[in-house]
């Protein structure tokens, strides 16, 4: 499969009064055409910063891409200027944000907000753009689009606004759609509808999607692969099956154990992971998760673990995969769902640093 996006060792930091916040600390992943990658992690783990860096949307200053590459169809966008980025944003990559109540301009007609993209990137005339906007509204499942196109955001419900946002994002047929917690602000039934719509449109348009969420529950339905982020790093990445049925990182275990699920709802104590993520102004020595990790080893407080590879597609960054590490049992809720996957290597291998 063709690689659409390659992120290599991305580092992003923010200059604040309290010091330099290292929000993203060496993130690498790639994304194929038509594929959906979910990025999960607690709030503050750097998901939004990572994804906004891909469009160079982080405020600079105080933000800065301090290292790494972002290759879009093989071309690094990190050195690109704002003017060059304008041709990429909305056209090659577009984005849906978390809160549909605030991400549309309240004093501009919804139709106009869609038309802006078409006029900018497709060189459409106003009339053509308006007709296309109506079509797009219909495509995202908004009834009576001829009337809706002239309305203002406050006349739309939350779910309808998110549909309108999707229409804006897909207006110019982007190759990559980044959805940053697109359903977090919506109630559960609407959530399901929006997810359904996104999958449906992806099939029609063959768009790649980066789907960001802090809720592992929705991941299984939408994603092909999952990257688990913690404290600005990807700590585990694999296919949906690998993450759900053969997780290796204690942080992933924690996320899975705290996920309400159908099978183990009887008396599963929803064990939220104790503690809070570390201060990224001064990331701890060793593994960032060590302080919250009940399985932590002595070395975890001294030295950062390398990335281990467990299968062709499965990676985890934990000392537990080291041959000398003691054998540990994941929590009960996770253990119940564990199964042997055929693709797993015989032994985890260390991925060369700085690949």
């Amino acid at each position: 499969m063709e690689k659409l996006l390659e992120v290599k060792n991305l580092e992003v930091s923010f200059q604040t009064y309290g010091g330099t916040v290292k929000a993203v600390r060496g993130v690498s992943f790639d994304l194929h055409k038509g594929e959906t990658l979910a990025i999960v992690g607690e709030s503050g783990s750097g998901k939004s910063v990572t994804s906004q860096s891909i469009m160079k949307l982080i405020p600079m200053p105080p933000g800065r891409i301090s290292g790494g590459q972002i290759l879009l169809s093989g071309e690094d966008i990190v050195p690109k200027t704002e003017k060059q980025m304008e041709k990429i944003r909305g056209k090659e990559i577009s984005m849906i944000f978390q809160d549909p109540m605030t991400s549309l301009n309240p004093t501009m007609r919804v139709g106009t907000q869609i038309m802006e993209v078409l006029i900018k990137h497709q060189n459409m005339s106003k009339t053509d753009a308006k007709n296309r906007a109506i079509e797009l509204l219909r495509l995202v499942g908004i009834p009576m689009p001829e009337k809706r196109v002239n309305q203002y955001p406050h006349e739309f419900s939350g779910g309808m606004r998110q549909r309108a946002m999707i229409a804006i994002a897909l207006a110019a047929n982007p190759k990559l759609l980044i959805a940053d917690e697109p359903t977090t602000a919506l109630d559960v039934t609407i959530q399901a509808q929006i997810l359904e719509l996104m999958k449906d449109l992806q099939n029609k348009m063959d768009t790649s999607i980066i789907f960001i969420t802090h809720d592992l529950g929705v991941v299984a339905n939408v994603a092909d692969r999952v990257a688990v982020m913690y404290a600005g790093q990807i700590v585990e990445m694999g296919t949906v099956d690998e993450i759900f049925y053969d997780p290796r990182h204690p942080y992933t275990w924690g996320l899975l154990a705290s996920m309400p699920s159908l099978e183990n709802d009887e008396k599963a104590e929803l064990a939220a992971i104790p503690g809070t993520p570390p201060d990224l102004t001064d990331p701890p020595k060793g593994d960032a998760f060590a302080a919250r990790n009940q399985y932590a080893l002595a070395i975890d407080f001294e030295e950062e673990p390398p990335m281990f590879q467990i299968s062709e597609t499965h990676f985890a960054k934990t000392w537990l995969l080291h041959p000398d590490a003691p054998k540990v049992e994941p929590p009960e809720a996770v253990k119940k769902r564990m199964r042997q996957l055929s693709s797993t290597f015989e032994k985890p291998v260390v991925v060369k640093e700085g690949k």
Binding site: M55, M85, G90, M108, V117, H154, I168
Partner: protein, 311 residues
Amino acid sequence: MAKYIGKRLLYMLLSLWMIVTATFFFMRIAPGNPFASEKKLPPEIEANLNAHFGLDKPWYAQYWEYLVRIVNWDFGPSFKYKSQTVNDLINEGFPVSFLLGMEAIFIAVAVGVLLGIIAALKHNRWPDYTAMIVAVLGISVPSFIMASFLQYFLAIKMGIFPVARWETFMHSVLPAVALASTPMAFIARLTRSSMLEVLANDYIKTAKSKGLSRGVITVKHTIRNALLPVVTYMGPLTAGILTGSFVIERIFGIPGLGAHFVTSINNRDYTVIMGVTVFYSILLLVSILLVDIAYGIIDPRIKLAGGKKGE
């Protein structure tokens, strides 16, 4: 919409009635009377004068007569300027004040908004600091001091503008600037903070993520929304310009309504004070109504109450 405006007009009449009544009674309890100034008048003459102006009638009769007059847009004769009616004074003075006020409002809005926008776009850089220093000066220096400064430096020292009087356009520049300085500074600060607030909004990030250029985002998504609070400020602005003009017209010797007003207060010229107060109140109430209607048109989220529901 029509229903809303009708309702508002009704409230306006009510407020006006209260203002007229309050002015009427305040005037009556104020010490002194219009003929009690320099020298004592013989009692017969004073009685005659009182009879002539209807001051000998009981208060309720005077009050009623006054209400009837105002409804007919007749503010009565001036006590002091024997041959002039209050209507004459208003007709003569108001066009001058109106011109001066408009000029001041234009300067305040145009310069204030521009300063505010520049400050916000260059947030925490020197243009921002400069604009805000100007704004603080404008807010903290009272307009009459500003007026004297302008007269001293630009008129007397440099001779660019005439010192006073009301003849050519050049004569209007200094009073208009003096009158505009405080509201201009206020608008600059308002615009700046409102711009910064809008810029921090999610929809600005959305606009950026669509690939729109900085210019388009600033003009179409930021400034428009940032100016909404400035529109709301137009009501108080009108009031500020009106009251400011009392002093400024005196300082620059401008024959406007404000100057007459001040003179008439010194003279205890009842009818002029009351007439001008009522006239100013009407002006203010109408401008506030216009601002509210304009706001409802500009901001689609505001549905003027009483208008069609939904939709």
